[in-house]
């Protein structure tokens, strides 16, 4: 069998494309991407939204509790933490936008996608491990100090430590497991296929 000849036959029978209307092309190029990088960007924008929300909340509480030096210190830690989170998230979003080019060679494209997606997932899991529990711990401390205790009193009360410990021990794994489950569901098979194809290109 002449492969080239059969291929030409296939081109005529199966691969001859219907005329692509201009309107369809224009519609497609104005749509949002459905690709994996776009999905990560969307997830990252949600994280950015929550970090901004926590930061805004922190700034408002800092202003509200300005008269109390202990609360001021506590809120300064809170604000600094989420400010760093905001800067890192924006940086990650920019990195994702830059890595989305699809006109390189196949090996470079697959390798870049694999690295970028794996890093984004890992960062997401690490951030999830700290972002929500820290907000809870700081919220707990703030509520107690606001209720009239000093920060030292709150921190030297063993009952408070127990509550904090239980909050951390219960909620941190729950958040972490949830984030991991969501990422695994979304990307695990995809990453395996990418890796297999990268290995085939070595």
């Amino acid at each position: 069998m002449d492969l080239q000849q059969e291929w030409q036959l296939l081109q005529e029978k199966q691969f001859s494309a219907p005329v692509l209307p201009e309107a369809d092309i224009l519609l497609a190029i104005r749509k949002d991407s459905q690709g994996p990088i776009a999905a990560l960007q969307k997830a990252l924008r949600w994280r950015l939204f929550f970090v901004s929300l926590f930061l805004l909340f922190g700034i408002l509480l800092t202003a509200y509790s300005w008269h109390n030096p202990e609360l001021r210190l506590l809120m300064a830690v809170f604000d600094a933490y989420y400010l760093i989170g905001l800067v890192l998230s924006i940086r990650q979003l920019r990195l994702l936008q830059r890595s989305a080019s699809l006109d390189n060679n196949l090996r470079l494209t697959l390798t870049t996608y694999y690295r970028v997606i794996k890093n984004a997932i890992r960062t997401d899991e690490i951030v999830g491990l700290f972002m929500y529990p820290i907000a809870l711990v700081l919220g707990f401390l703030y509520a107690n100090v606001e209720a009239g205790d000093t920060l030292l009193q709150v921190l030297t009360n063993s009952r408070n430590w127990m509550i904090l410990l239980i909050m951390i021990l219960v909620l941190t794994p729950i958040f972490h497991i949830f984030v991991r489950w969501a990422n695994r569901k979304a990307f695990s098979k995809y990453l395996i296929t990418l890796k297999q194809n990268i290995d085939l290109l070595q």
Binding site: M1, Q14, P18, G35, L102, T109, N197
Partner: protein, 163 residues
């Protein structure tokens, strides 16, 4: 003529490339629709960087392959099992349809060998195949030779069991 109009015309002239690559890699009709739009979008996004170093068709082939192979598909083409004589495609006359067999044999290759073989059948030389895939030229040549042998072997086997 605006950049957008030039792009539309070039894509219309080369629409067969997108259609063909998607048919070779995707079975799910919904995935095909999504991917078709995604390829057009990614091609448009990358078009600003297209300097004309290669033909537009080669560049579009590259973008299409990259988009298809990095897309999260619902179902991948998974025709790895050997068809028996009842599964082999036949033409309208009931005789064996060899071009359909070729398509089936190509779809049974792994995704990277599928890229190499289809680029070769579309007339790209080994150096161009190496440039598009990122393999070195020697590896691309060896891989192409092996993949072609696998296809020929399969076709011979199927010819033996065809009705």
């Amino acid at each position: 003529m605006s950049q957008e109009q030039v792009f539309v015309q070039l894509v219309q002239r080369n629409a067969g490339i997108i259609h063909k690559v998607i048919q070779l890699y995707v079975d799910d009709p919904e995935d095909r629709r999504d991917l078709h739009q995604e390829v057009l979008l990614q091609a448009w996004k990358s078009y600003e960087a297209f300097k004309g170093d290669s033909a537009f068709s080669t560049w579009l082939y590259r973008v299409t392959l990259n988009t298809v192979l990095t897309f999260r598909r619902r179902n991948r083409v998974m025709t790895t099992e050997l068809p028996d004589k009842w599964d082999l495609p036949t033409g309208a006359s009931g005789h064996s349809d060899q071009s359909e067999w070729l398509l089936l044999a190509i779809k049974q290759l792994n995704e990277i060998d599928r890229v190499i073989v289809t680029l070769h059948l579309d007339g790209y030389d080994n150096e161009e195949i190496a440039g598009i895939t990122g393999l070195n030229k020697n590896t691309a040549t060896v891989r192409l030779h092996r993949a072609k042998q696998v296809i020929i072997q399969k076709l011979k086997t199927w010819q033996g069991v065809s009705p």
